[in-house]
């Protein structure tokens, strides 16, 4: 059958009925489920098609209120990930020396027993805190990790220290919560260290940006290089990597100096404005220009535009979470929002927004069981102990867990479990991490495909892709849907969820793990809905709940500013019930009460003595259009989009070094060197070069081999300082991803 020519073709994806009709005609099976190809909480709705038992392709689910039928390239490439030759096949037990890569195949039961025996033995000898489980990003299984740790008695949930929670913390302790952006009503949108396109392009942020642009909103982008979102902007402020705090402080200087503030809001709802006024005198735009590289005139222009545009919103992204001044950068931005009267007003930054009419599923993180003893035992608190637990539980900083293995301070972690994370390529300090992996008593890796560091593992477990399991259900906003199995598992696989349930039972924590039943576990979580998972599954594209009220509610200051913290003390986030411009809580704990500037460990203005040898600033991109973090380089349709690790370098900077487009080059810092390709990139600061992080994996289908993890590869994490005194934000652990480098042609 061919298309009936002459009928209107609308831009629309499949509804369930259309997907079924299509599948029937094509002799295929269709399954509604979630995409699983990007980071935290991937919840785009898809229809997955199976032909002759093989998962072949996906279409967007039109009914999904999240992606509304859109699917990005990662989503479409899913079958190649599922059928990748890089997939792990069987549970493995190390036979040879660490790093050698010699394993013997074992069964899942044997693997669970080996791990459980080791954990029980270590718990008896060293205490439960000797176990750390890594969770680089918050995923659906993160709460299962927390549950296992709490049941075991360890506080050491290893969170990245470089993503999301840093903003959550600094915003919450300044304005009561992390605000949302009112894209719909804003006349001015400032994208600051933000990449609304590469992270979840089908999920709404990009759509909101395009819609705002279409209706004439002005857009300002603040970041070191031009990406497609900058292409949509009216103004680009090309700042040096890691200098967001300096820029924000200079903007505060302008706004305070010119008194373009919301006096009434400041008087009623802010604490410490007088101290701020004095404090920011030392940060005039000329100072800001010297540090950030953004021209003083442009700093003034942006500050004035923001302060004087009534409906103006700032979308602050992950880019600000990679510098030792992160906490102060985020606080300074929060203060900008507050004193200019943009908090919780139409078109500004919302504290509450439209309330979803959907109940919240019960969480499984056992948050009620944290004790002072557990908090005291944190091996490397991501936030100071007095603020723990924060955001769902206690956390230790990911990199510092590895550091504890080497320094044995305050004690060495004995077992590290890495579920879906690759510590040598997804976090800074790879050289120290490798040393720690050689030394740590016991290392467990769970993943779908080969990982960068599995050769150091004692046990490797092959997990199913989310296309091969029927759990967990997912929820987002006002939408709740069961996950359905697209194909039977291609190997001896279990899901990450089943692993934690099985291990929990084997450890004797069965009471806390539904005696191993994932169905009972899901039913427990669904209690507030008065639904079972089987019942939920009867709604093929899930349940969509109507919003409680259609219009967002504004000016919820008295409520939000009174929020109690999740720390054991339950002390309020904002002791004065006002915006903490002058932060007495931080002051009490020995930190700056007002935001200040702190240089990265190696920068042009902070370490001028290095610029003779290393004149360029290096930083990295956190996300890309083709890949999610450090995975998916093995997926051919994605690798074709970005085949080589390339360094973005301004054409003039390259020409001065005799470097032409696509030349292989050496990038060297005082910590390591990479061999990558040059991409002459006219939209980048000439004093800055940037590369995507996470490179190591080859792609067999395209003939690309693996790259070295350490020197000579393309792993940018080896390039940075991990100096404990200089490379971290002292309060929120954010790790520096700026250094100084020189670049030369590879001969």
């Amino acid at each position: 059958m061919t298309k009936q020519f002459g009928q209107a073709v609308e831009n629309c994806a499949f509804t369930l009925e259309e997907a079924k009709a299509f599948a029937q005609e094509a002799g295929e099976q269709v399954t509604p489920t979630f995409c699983a190809m990007c980071g935290p909480n991937p919840t785009c709705g898809i229809y997955a098609f199976v032909k002759d038992g093989r998962f072949t392709r996906v279409a967007g689910m039109l009914e999904s209120p999240l992606n509304k039928g859109g699917v990005c390239p990662k989503g479409h490439a899913a079958p190649q990930w599922v059928y990748s030759p890089d997939r792990l096949k069987k549970p493995l037990l190390r036979k040879g020396a660490k790093g050698e890569g010699l394993f013997q195949e074992i069964t899942w039961d044997e693997a669970i027993s080996i791990i459980a025996d080791k954990l029980q033995q270590q718990k008896a000898l060293y205490g439960p805190e000797s176990l750390a489980i890594l969770s680089p990003a918050h995923r659906s299984y993160s709460n299962y990790i927390r549950r296992f740790l709490v049941a075991h008695g360890s506080p050491n949930y290893g969170h990245s220290g470089i993503c999301y929670v840093q903003r959550e913390f600094a915003f919450t302790y300044t304005i009561g919560c992390q605000p949302r952006c009112d894209y719909k009503n804003a006349d001015l949108i400032i994208l600051w260290g933000r990449q609304p396109i590469y992270s979840g392009p089908a999920m709404g942020a990009a759509r909101s940006l395009v819609a705002a642009k279409r209706r004439g909103a002005k857009i300002i982008a603040i970041k070191p290089s031009v990406e497609p979102d900058v292409g949509m902007a009216d103004i680009w402020a090309p700042l040096r990597p890691g200098t967001d705090a300096a820029l924000a402080l200079s903007m505060l200087n302008v706004i305070v100096d010119e008194n373009v503030i919301d006096e009434k809001f400041v008087e009623t709802w802010c604490y410490g404005y007088e101290q701020l006024r004095e404090h920011v005198r030392k940060y005039p735009p000329e100072w800001g220009e010297r540090i950030s590289g953004v021209p003083a005139a442009q700093i003034r222009e942006i500050a004035r535009l923001y302060a004087t545009t009534k409906a103006a919103t700032i979308d602050l992204g992950n880019g600000v979470e990679h510098a030792p001044s992160s906490n102060d950068a985020i606080r300074a931005v929060a203060i900008l929002m507050a004193i200019t009267g943009h908090l919780d007003r139409p078109g500004g930054n919302l504290l509450v927004g439209v309330r979803s009419g959907m109940p919240s599923p019960k969480t499984v993180n056992l948050a009620g069981r944290y004790t002072q003893e557990m908090v005291d035992k944190l091996v490397a608190p991501e936030f100071p102990r007095v603020f723990q637990p924060f955001w769902g539980g206690t956390s230790s900083a990911y990199y510092r867990i590895f550091d504890s293995v080497l320094t044995e301070k305050p004690y060495p972690i004995r077992t590290i479990i890495a579920p879906g994370t690759q510590p040598t390529v997804s976090n800074r300090g790879s050289k120290r991490v490798v040393e720690a992996l050689k030394k740590v008593d016991f290392y467990v890796v769970l993943d779908v495909t080969r990982t960068a560091d599995m050769n150091y593992a004692d046990v490797v477990l092959p997990v199913s892709t989310p296309y091969e399991t029927d759990h967990p259900f997912e929820f987002r906003g006002n939408w709740l849907m069961a996950r359905n199995k697209v194909i039977e598992p291609l190997g001896d696989y279990k899901s990450m969820y089943e692993f934690f349930l099985d291990l929990g039972v084997r450890m004797g924590y069965g009471e806390d793990f539904w005696h191993g039943s994932i169905t009972d576990c899901q039913n427990y979580q669904l209690t507030p809905f008065d639904l079972t998972i089987e019942k939920l599954r009867e709604y093929p594209f899930g349940l969509i709940f109507k919003a409680k009220r259609n219009a967002p509610s504004y000016e919820n200051y008295s409520r939000v500013f009174q929020r109690r913290s999740t720390a054991l003390s339950r002390e309020p986030y904002l002791p004065q019930g006002k915006v903490a411009i002058y932060n007495t809580t931080f002051e009490r704990e020995g930190f700056n009460p007002l935001p200040e500037w702190r240089e990265p460990p190696e920068s042009i203005t902070g370490a001028p003595e290095l610029t003779g040898k290393y004149p360029l600033i290096l930083s990295d991109y956190h996300t890309s259009k083709a890949y999610s973090a450090a995975w998916q380089r093995n997926v051919p349709y994605l690798r074709e989009i970005q085949p080589f690790p390339t360094l973005h370098i301004h054409p003039a900077t390259a020409a001065a070094r005799g470097i032409k487009n696509h030349d292989w080059i050496i990038v060297e810092s005082s910590h390591g060197w990479m061999k990558v390709k040059a991409e002459l990139y006219p939209g980048i600061r000439p004093d800055t070069v940037m590369i995507l992080h996470g490179w190591w994996q080859g792609c067999r289908e395209l003939g690309f081999g693996d790259l070295p993890i350490l020197d000579g590869g393309a792993n940018v994490n080896i390039m940075y300082s991990v100096d404990p005194d200089k490379a971290f934000d002292p309060l929120i652990t954010a790790m520096s991803s700026q250094t100084l480098v020189e670049v030369r042609k590879y001969e």
Partner: protein, 175 residues
């Protein structure tokens, strides 16, 4: 030939350069590695610091007067399909790539067999082409921001769509 034809409309102001259309095309039509019936490219304009970028999603435009048809020495490329679709007869193609030289959009692609292949708007009726019933092709369906559309258009509109894409591609050449 009908006065009305199918044509792609690309709106550069809505494209976010996610490459969803490019990969949707590849998975839905099982396009070989190294071959792209649709591709997304970045276009620069200006000089640092007054520089910006835009994107283009390019496939065969199924031109009103296709240069590939004119230059094909064997008559393998033709515009005979209903709705003005430009199709390739693989049996007649000798792989000379004259079409590629002639095409302003560089749409013709060559796989390991050396035979020209390209976008058929998923309307070719070939066995491996999905039947989209009332639906647009996957490249259009998948777009999160509606930057790509398939429309029925007049000859004049078709020419306008072609010119718009040519102008867009020239932005980067002028730089």
């Amino acid at each position: 030939m009908s006065d009305e034809q199918w044509g792609f409309i690309f709106n550069k102001d809505s494209c976010i350069q996610c490459h969803g259309c490019e990969v949707a095309c590849k998975t839905w039509r099982a396009v070989a590695l190294g071959v792209n019936w649709r591709r997304v490219i970045n276009l620069w304009s200006g000089e640092y610091p007054h520089i910006t970028c835009s994107s283009a999603s390019i496939a065969c435009m199924h031109c009103e007067e296709p240069a590939c048809v004119d230059v094909c020495p064997t008559g393998a490329v033709n515009k005979r399909g209903a709705g003005g679709i430009v199709l390739v007869d693989a049996r007649k193609c000798i792989g000379c790539q004259a079409c590629l030289d002639a095409c302003p959009f560089k749409a013709p692609q060559f796989g390991l067999d050396g035979v020209m292949q390209k976008c058929d708007m998923c309307l070719s009726g070939k066995a491996d082409a999905p039947n989209f019933s009332q639906k647009a092709p996957p490249c259009v369906n998948t777009c999160p921001t509606g930057a790509l559309a398939l429309r029925k258009m007049t000859v004049a509109q078709k020419k306008e769509a072609e010119q718009t894409m040519i102008d867009l591609l020239n932005i980067s050449k002028k730089r």
